[in-house]
């Protein structure tokens, strides 16, 4: 087998192992509780018949591995189970809620990447200037502010005091601005600093000096040669930060009463509606696993110098 093939075979195998592991964790989480899951899900006032029914429905009376296989076979058929709280299919619940979450997560992601990349580039080009210093300090500043508090500050200033934006829910296009900023600003730091370091590194390379020596203008050297190469590691950073952005969006959704998967998840955790909790955990983690694989594919595609090793 060629190196390239071996690399991808190895990668694919790892991705599959990780995906299976993720399903195991989402499944086992229900069994972390010391008590009877059926009783805990239904609460202290449930009748014996109801408990028995739930136990039978989720195979809770059978051995663990049988439960897992039954759960998995339903998953593979595309059936995520039934919510105990809403008594509706989890598929429908998620389908209704996934849109707002995607809008919020993607807007937050765009804000963080664009701001981070621009600040990182400027800091590197104007190295040791006040702008460079500001980039470093603001990066530490944003990562020190919990997104739930930033969200509340925004709500207070722009919603309650200035009345520029609606204070909750998804009313219009402007509704997404504050949640997306609460989410994105905190993540921006994670792109600004690596971008700065990468840009400085690239600007020191031989080929940049060669391009300058060739008589190319500063603008062309920066945009055509330096920027293109410095942006490559940002792809990996994106995949690395994805779990944090999704995690952040859950919290931001709660602050802004955003009707997405995040609020559904928090309410389901509190109501001990485990089929919903398991399904959302699974969905998010599989998305992260795929994003990582995707980032690897793009990375090797844009940068042929990558060595093909396990």
């Amino acid at each position: 087998m060629s190196n390239r093939k071996k690399y991808w075979a190895n990668k694919a195998l790892r991705t599959i192992i990780t995906a299976i592991g993720v399903t195991l964790i989402a499944f086992l989480i229900l069994h972390l509780t010391p008590g009877d899951p059926a009783r805990i899900m239904l609460g202290p006032y449930a009748s014996e018949e109801n408990i028995e029914a739930v136990r039978a429905k989720y195979n809770l009376d059978k051995p663990l591995h049988i439960q897992y296989l039954a759960w998995m076979s339903n998953l593979l058929k595309g059936d995520l189970g039934t919510s105990i709280r809403y008594n509706r299919s989890v598929n429908t619940l998620i389908k209704n809620r996934i849109g707002p979450t995607l809008i919020l997560t993607l807007s937050g992601l765009v804000i963080s990447v664009v701001l981070g990349v621009v600040m990182g580039i400027l800091a590197a080009l104007k190295r040791n200037s006040w702008l460079d210093y500001l980039t470093t300090v603001q990066a530490i500043f944003w990562i020190s502010i919990p997104s739930f508090w930033l969200g509340i500050l925004f709500l207070y200033i722009f919603g309650l005091k200035l009345r520029w934006v609606p204070i909750a829910g998804m009313v219009s296009f402007v509704s997404v601005i504050l949640p997306a900023l609460s989410l994105g600003l905190r993540q921006e730091a994670w792109f600004a600093r690596p971008m700065r370091a990468e840009m400085l590194e690239v600007l020191n390379q031989e080929y940049i000096r060669a391009a300058k020596a060739k008589g190319l203008t500063y603008y062309v050297v920066v945009t055509k040669h330096a920027l293109r190469n410095a942006l490559i590691p940002i792809i990996t950073m994106l995949a690395l930060r994805l779990p944090w952005i999704i995690g952040g969006s859950v919290v931001v959704e709660v602050v802004f009463s955003w009707g997405g998967l995040g609020t559904l998840l928090v309410n389901s955790v509190k109501a001990r509606d485990y089929p919903v909790v398991q399904a959302i955990l699974l969905l998010i983690s599989i998305a992260v696993v795929l994003a990582n694989l995707f980032a690897d594919v793009i990375y090797t595609w844009v940068d042929p110098r990558i060595r093909m090793e396990g």
Partner: protein, 307 residues
Amino acid sequence: MSEINTNVNEEINVENIKKELSQLKNKKTSQLSLVWRRFKSNKLALVGFIFVTMIIFVAIFAPVLTPYEPFATNPSNRLMAPSRAHWLGTDAMGRDVLTRLFYGARIALQIGVLIILFEGLIGILMGVISGFFGGIIDSIVMRLVDILRSFPVIILAMAIAGIMGQGLYNVVIALGIVGWTTYARMVRSKILSIKEADYIEAGYSIGESTFSIITRYIIPNAIPTAIVMISIMMPTALIASATLSFLGLGVQPPTPSWGSMVSAGRDYLLQAPWISTSAGFFIMFTVLGFNFIGDGLRDALDPTTKH
């Protein structure tokens, strides 16, 4: 070093190698003082140090610093604006906000330290095992790390805390279950580079056991990495535990945790904005302090990263 190299005629015996190893060890301590000097000259790190010291001071001396009780409710005093008697006002139950913030520092630091200890111990142990033994053990540990890191920390912690029930120790466990993976990865890669070092080979050549190699050479050399890790992980632990409290899945009221105070103040944002804003400010202040320290430490231990 050069002294030893020039004495080629001298018989190379175990004593000599031991002497050389202890010399290397001495070099290490002088390196530490160099690191400390670099850290001290970093202004931001010094600011961070002051911030964190202030929070620790407030946490220890909370009962002396304030005349109020963190749990004493007073319905006639509810939602009072900041005044001379109540510097940061009172909350919906008439409790003094500043008092609760001071006592909240105890909770925050306690949880932070417990999380660091819990995840640090597991992570460093797993990292050492994985990096040192390699092979199938390494593969298993690293796949477990991949699997756990596919979940956003806060989401998995929410689910775990929700199932195990709220409370300080469950918060620590819920966050530590994912958190150890960061240490394991860093320590593993550090171990892999240490393993190649000459002094490890020297240790083996004088007949030291694997156990003694790990405890006497590998772990001490991985300690700087571990210190940087802790300074990076402390802010994460503080924000994550505050987030769980904010969502109502962490430390439960009436325990004065900063996260739940932000959440409680949210309902009175218009009448009493001081509750949420001041509680959040305390979180930011503390996290900022640790981040400044972490940044300074990183630069001090590895000056090559700063261009």
